[in-house]
């Protein structure tokens, strides 16, 4: 436990001191939420824009932390030889991974508090039940595993700089295709169909359902996230190169 505590302390310390991470995980989501909730860019069909955008931006926040931030940081740690060096300490890979997961969860809790606070200030009110909030937390954790797996697949295979570019590129693509700021119904034909099979769309749809009173979280969203949460970490475990 002592080693895990030390690693979690270090991981959270480094995460909250990286300016680019704070920009990506908190600055951009808050800016998007403020902008899209205040300026009518797209007709979302919601009574209040914030009702559509808060769940979407929460999904974006989860993706930015568990896929982009985790993946980029891990890629650079691999490039710097940090992961190799840690391999010669009693920390061990399971505890290193556990520390990274705990750090991701800590950041996501902070993001959620900040975004929900901003959302409330913009007029958002929780319409779903307490059970639905638990469902929302469940799908967010499932999505974190899926996104984390995708981030680590790239971090473990690509050079740090290439991984940085790839993670940011994927972030932009999934931002547009993930139903976060553009409703999935607005995406044309096959693009909409493909998007619904990807974790961002499944997460944003599930969160939107859980946090509103209009519908339950669909089985489709759960299945898509569960499949990605199984496959992506498995691929990462097989392909990840520690040095």
């Amino acid at each position: 436990m002592k080693a895990l505590r030390a690693q979690v302390r270090a991981e959270t310390y480094m995460t909250f001191r990286r300016g680019e991470t704070l920009l990506l995980t908190i600055g951009i989501p808050v800016a998007f939420l403020l902008f899209f909730s205040s300026v009518k860019v797209i007709d979302t069909g919601a009574t209040r824009p914030v009702n559509f955008y808060l769940p979407g931006i929460l999904a974006l926040a989860v993706m930015s932390t568990s896929m982009v931030s985790l993946g980029i940081a891990t890629g650079f740690e691999r490039g710097y030889g940090v992961l190799k060096r840690l391999g010669a300490t009693p920390l061990g890979r399971p505890r290193l991974l556990a520390a990274k997961i705990i750090t991701v969860v800590v950041v996501e809790v902070v993001q959620s508090v900040v975004l929900v606070t901003v959302g409330v200030a913009l007029g958002w009110r929780l319409e779903g039940s307490a059970v639905a909030v638990v469902e929302a937390v469940g799908v967010a954790l499932l999505a974190s595993i899926a996104f984390g797996g995708i981030g680590l697949v790239m971090a473990g295979a690509l050079k740090a700089e290439l991984n940085l570019a790839a993670a940011n590129g994927l972030y932009l693509v999934l931002l547009l295709l993930g139903g976060m700021v553009v409703p999935l119904g607005k995406l044309p034909g096959v693009l909409g169909t493909v998007s619904r099979l990807l974790p961002p769309a499944a997460l944003s749809t599930a969160l939107r359902s859980a946090l509103s009173s209009t519908s339950d979280v669909s089985l489709h969203s759960f299945v898509v996230l569960a499949v990605w949460a199984f496959i992506a970490p498995c691929v990462a475990a097989v392909t990840f190169r520690w040095e």
């Binding site: 002592k2 030390a6 302390r9 310390y13 990286r18 190799k84 060096r85 300490t89 009693p90």
Partner: protein, 321 residues
């Protein structure tokens, strides 16, 4: 500089000295079809400093990485503290200290934060204040690692290798990029480790450093051990009876005339530096100095002892035919 690994602890040197901490027997390491290590054998005892020397690609790092448990061997046997580094890696990591050539350190963490982090990995770590003192990091202790000087980075890496009070330390190029003052500090720490009974295995290109700090050197070339022994023995073995006389002078003189006068060939081997071929006999030296005196030439340096570097180069030349 105090004992870095066991401040205030009973000296275990007497107990451990001269027992094998590392045994490497006919080690083979392959990367696909390429055989990087082709049967390397050597051992290292507690309280001993062993330096692996060799050109780039000789197989030094591959050998050390097998000992550290990073890399699986393709053949041969390896024991570190009686354990198999690959199979018993989890049992071994608490007993070894590792310093990688390029750091392997979180670049945004300061030495203070790194010491705090690494202290958390070990059950009985060295007091971090002691490490700061021993490695003279007081002024840099709160500076992120990436902003430290090369010497401070190396000293921090070495301190991290020692924080868990290891029984064996593996150091890859510990003095690379370190200023003379830092080298003295690192040399002193390595000597202190050996005195405490810690086995130190290091890989280096810096032959002068190896000559100063190693009890034994193992020269590796093309994946094989081509020479092994105390530096002094290697120097004399490689040179045998024909250790050359070398001298330096900034005064100009006629090399041919000197060669004729002392009866052996004199060769210019560098700016203001010359070598007298043949055995370094007292007669040769007497004739040389007499000729210099007659011609009013001031000798800046006169040496008959070979260096480990010269022996090393000769050994490698011999291997390559």
């Amino acid at each position: 500089m105090g004992s870095p690994t066991h401040p205030g602890a009973p000296d275990r040197a007497a107990k451990n000295r001269q027992t094998d901490a590392v045994v490497c027997d006919r080690l083979v390491v392959s990367y696909g079809a390429f055989e990087a290590v082709k049967g390397v054998s050597f051992s290292a005892s507690h309280g001993e400093v062993v330096a692996l020397l060799g050109p780039n690609g000789a197989g030094k790092t591959s050998t050390i990485e097998v000992l550290e448990g990073y890399r699986r061997r393709s053949g041969g046997t390896v024991e570190v503290l009686g354990l198999d580094p690959a199979r018993d890696h989890r049992d071994l990591v608490g007993k070894i200290g590792v310093m990688l050539q390029n750091g392997g350190v979180y670049p945004t963490l300061s030495p203070a934060k790194l010491f705090e982090l690494f202290s958390g990995y070990y059950p009985d770590p060295i007091d971090t204040n002691h490490l700061v003192d021993v490695f003279a990091l007081g002024d840099a202790v709160k500076t992120p690692w990436r902003h430290l000087s090369g010497g401070e980075q190396q000293r921090t890496s070495l301190a991290l290798a020692l924080i868990g009070k290891p029984e064996i330390v593996f150091l890859d190029e510990p003095t690379a990029g370190v200023d003379p003052e830092g080298r003295v500090a690192i040399r002193s720490v390595v000597a202190g480790l050996a005195a405490d009974g810690v086995c130190v295995v290091l890989a280096t290109h810096e032959l002068g450093e190896a000559e100063r700090i190693a009890d034994r050197v193992v020269i590796v070339s093309d994946g094989r051990v081509v020479a092994e022994g105390p530096p002094a023995d290697l120097v004399s073995d490689a040179g045998g009876a024909r250790a050359d006389v070398t001298f330096a002078t900034s005064d100009g003189f006629d090399v041919g005339s000197l060669s004729e006068s002392i009866g052996t060939t004199v060769v210019k081997i560098g700016p203001d530096r010359y070598r007298v071929d043949g055995a370094a006999s007292a007669e040769t030296i007497a004739r040389l100095t007499a000729w210099m005196a007659r011609h009013g030439i001031v000798l800046n340096d006169l040496a008959t002892a070979r260096t480990l570097e010269e022996a090393y180069l000769e050994i490698l030349r011999g291997e390559r035919g």
